[in-house]
Amino acid sequence: MSKKRKLVSGIIFGVILIGLLVGIVLTHSHEEEPIREVMKDAVLHEHIKVSFFGLLDVNPGLISAYAVTAVFLIFALIVRIFFVPRFTMIPGKFQLLLEKAVGIFDDLANANSPHRNKFLGVYIFTAGAYIFIGTIFELFGIQVPTTSGGVAALPAPLADINGAIAMGVMSYAVIMSGGIAGNKFKGVLLTLKDFSLPLSMSFRLFGALLSGALVTELVYYYMAISFVVPVLVGVMFTLLHALIQAYVLTMLTSLFYGEVSEVHHKEKKEKESNNEEITADFEA
């Protein structure tokens, strides 16, 4: 074994040892709080509250939501000011990434609602970006002070049930707006037919994102599995949920939007004319 190789191996070994010691010290405090309480806090946020600009005490998820919007605003401004005016006919890597992101949602809107999709395209692009960035945001583990004097890591905005309900209700409202635009009052009835949709959308998002958070909490709680495993589990759950939930919500919204906004009276007329033809044939 060469000297260089010995040195590298020694450094790696030392880092692992230090990491283990740090982990042992850091995870020691968890034993004071029972797992039941930790899980309950992660789900309900009853005790962990964060001050919202000093106006009211809110769940940390709401702070995450506004933080995501702030990050998105800065990113959008940079792109709009510095990149969009320099777009070229043959796109570079970053331009291609932006075009791909817009193109995916535009195509999704076109495929599921070919007759009316301009507003839908923007909505599912925003929703997809919000869910994806919001879920990834959890990975950074940004700490904020709580009203009780402690600190809390900012979760994904949609791991807060209020955020998930807001998202589900808004998606339902967008679907209903498509119904009204396409079929007037009948569109409202068509949308109300699926009255369980906002509930299912909200709780699907909440459940999916919360499950990731709970599994990560669980893994961190026990010292024996709090080394290396959280990295894999946390990243895997977060990334997969970010992608899957962004896809599922945008897909469902565009699908229902396309269904209720499709103009129905033409089909009815066609059916009627077909029925008349069949009757005439039968009589003949």
Binding site: V43, L44, H45, E46, F52, L56, V58, N59, L62, A65, Y66, V68, T69, F72, L73, A76, L77, V79, R80, V84, F87, M89, L98, E99, V102, G103, D106, G121, V122, Y123, F125, T126, A129, Y130, P157, D160, I161, N162, G163, I165, A166, M167, V169, M170
Partner: protein, 159 residues
């Protein structure tokens, strides 16, 4: 409310999302989509222009092919006309040559006839002169037959 559901916080989440929607609409989605649509239109226009050019080229090709086929017909027609004209000219030249030949022959024949008649006339006159001379000599010298015979012999030997 159960599960820590809070209407105020739901509304705050909605407000945040509407804000995000506005940012997305004005700063990201619309400008990028507009650029993509413009580029699509640009390439569609180029494609359309190329197709139009191709179509006009094909039309021109058909037109020129038709013209070429017409030209072939015209060339054949002109060729026929030229051949016919040449034939006519040839016939005319031959006819003219034949007429000229006939004229020359006729003229030669006439000249020959005239020469012959003149020679005959001259011979006749000469004979007449000889005869009259011989008759004169016979009359002057006695035996006319003998004198005539001598005179003829003499003339014949001179010739």
């Amino acid at each position: 409310m159960p599960l820590n559901i809070n209407v105020q916080q739901i509304l705050l989440h909605m407000f945040n999302f509407v804000l995000l929607f506005g940012i997305s609409y004005f700063l990201l989605y619309t400008p990028i989509k507009k650029f993509m649509d413009d580029r699509k239109k640009y390439y569609e226009d180029i494609d359309k222009e190329a197709k139009d050019n191709l179509k006009s080229a094909e039309d021109a090709k058909v037109l020129y092919e038709n013209k070429l086929s017409l030209l072939d017909d015209e060339i054949a027609k002109k060729q026929n006309e030229a051949v016919t004209e040449a034939m006519n000219k040839r016939d005319e030249i031959i006819k003219h040559a034949k007429e000229e030949a006939a004229d020359i022959i006729e003229s030669a024949r006439k000249t020959g006839e005239f020469e012959r008649e003149r020679n005959v006339l001259a011979a006749k006159q000469e004979i007449e002169a000889y005869v009259s001379k011989a008759a004169e000599e016979i009359v002057q010298k006695g035996d006319p037959y003998e004198s005539f015979a001598n005179a003829v012999k003499k003339e014949a030997t001179n010739d």
